[in-house]
Symmetry: C2
Subunit: 187 residues, 2 copies
Amino acid sequence: MATAHRRKKQPELVRRALLDCAAKLALEQGLAAVTVQAVCEAAGVTKGGLFHHFASKQALIDGVVADILERLDADIAAAMALDPQPRGRFTRAYVTVTFDDLMSDQGRQWTALYISTLTEPSLRRVTAQWFARGLERHRATDDEPILETVRLAADGAWLAFLFRDEGGPLPDLPALRERLVAMTFAG
Amino acid sequence: MATAHRRKKQPELVRRALLDCAAKLALEQGLAAVTVQAVCEAAGVTKGGLFHHFASKQALIDGVVADILERLDADIAAAMALDPQPRGRFTRAYVTVTFDDLMSDQGRQWTALYISTLTEPSLRRVTAQWFARGLERHRATDDEPILETVRLAADGAWLAFLFRDEGGPLPDLPALRERLVAMTFAG
DNA sequence: CCTTAAATACCGACTGTTTGGTATCTTTCA
DNA sequence: TGAAAGATACCAAACAGTCGGTATTTAAGG
């Protein structure tokens, strides 16, 4: 609508809107639908406005991904802080955060967008290194094979979740979550 | 190079080449790189040739996905035929096929392309229903929670595999495979 | 506190390129 | 000869990105 110039200037707010709208578009209509124009329209800004905040379309998309990974890191750290048992702490937090997101009505936004990361080689590196870093940091407490299996299953659940609306088989999430957490305690 | 009219006409072969090249492009450079022109060039055909075989770009992509799912079905059926134990047979075949593909040098083509299916809503339905169908068909032998967990972990492994080249943490595939298969026998 | 000038935020028309797709023509094969 | 296979030339739409301009903040000087 290009009405951002009428209201009080709030650059941070516009920036956020652009990031959020890009994420929403990618989720609902696929990454191909994330055109500069579409993002601008959704955010109520014109192209000039968008390119003022982001040097290129790629920079916008990179920003979206970075945003997601930041939130993920924060959520995982918060979950870990509540866990008294050291062994498998990171894995439990990973499972918890994943399932919390899947089961909440709100967080699904970035969940599916994250998948876009896999298809676009330009984004793969960022996510791959996020994974590597997280794992490296908690190698001392979460390096066992069984814990790795649990994390992979959480990823799988998350993947299956994408199919929920298209007739795909959705696991019983609460039960699965409990099962996976229990596995982190088993020898 | 658009020289397909010189050699002896082999329409089936050209069709295959188009499908394979499209798959390869999607894998190596992302789905966005799968343009009609790029596929034509890679397959040594002009646009006219491509549109003779496929009514639209979407039809081409649908063809690629259908092709992949067909092969998957065949591989799973073959693996199941070799398994004497009924319980968990489908899940074991699923794991086997997945890991065979991950560990082979050849099959990786369609593995990663499959992921593109997740990001494009137009393709999600196809894959979602493939999953639902496979599961439905073997509900009698593979409906237990532990087996579901195993399948999810296989999906996760497959997902992690995409990051292998970008510094992502790649599990010890043979060991993981053995672990997952063993889990299908456990009570 | 008021004026003013620089800097920031945003607009919207425009550009050259690339896109998927079509219409028409030529070659090959049965 | 006639149908299938493919080449060539073309098109309208959509694309990312640019550019000159305007409106709004911010900050400094008086």
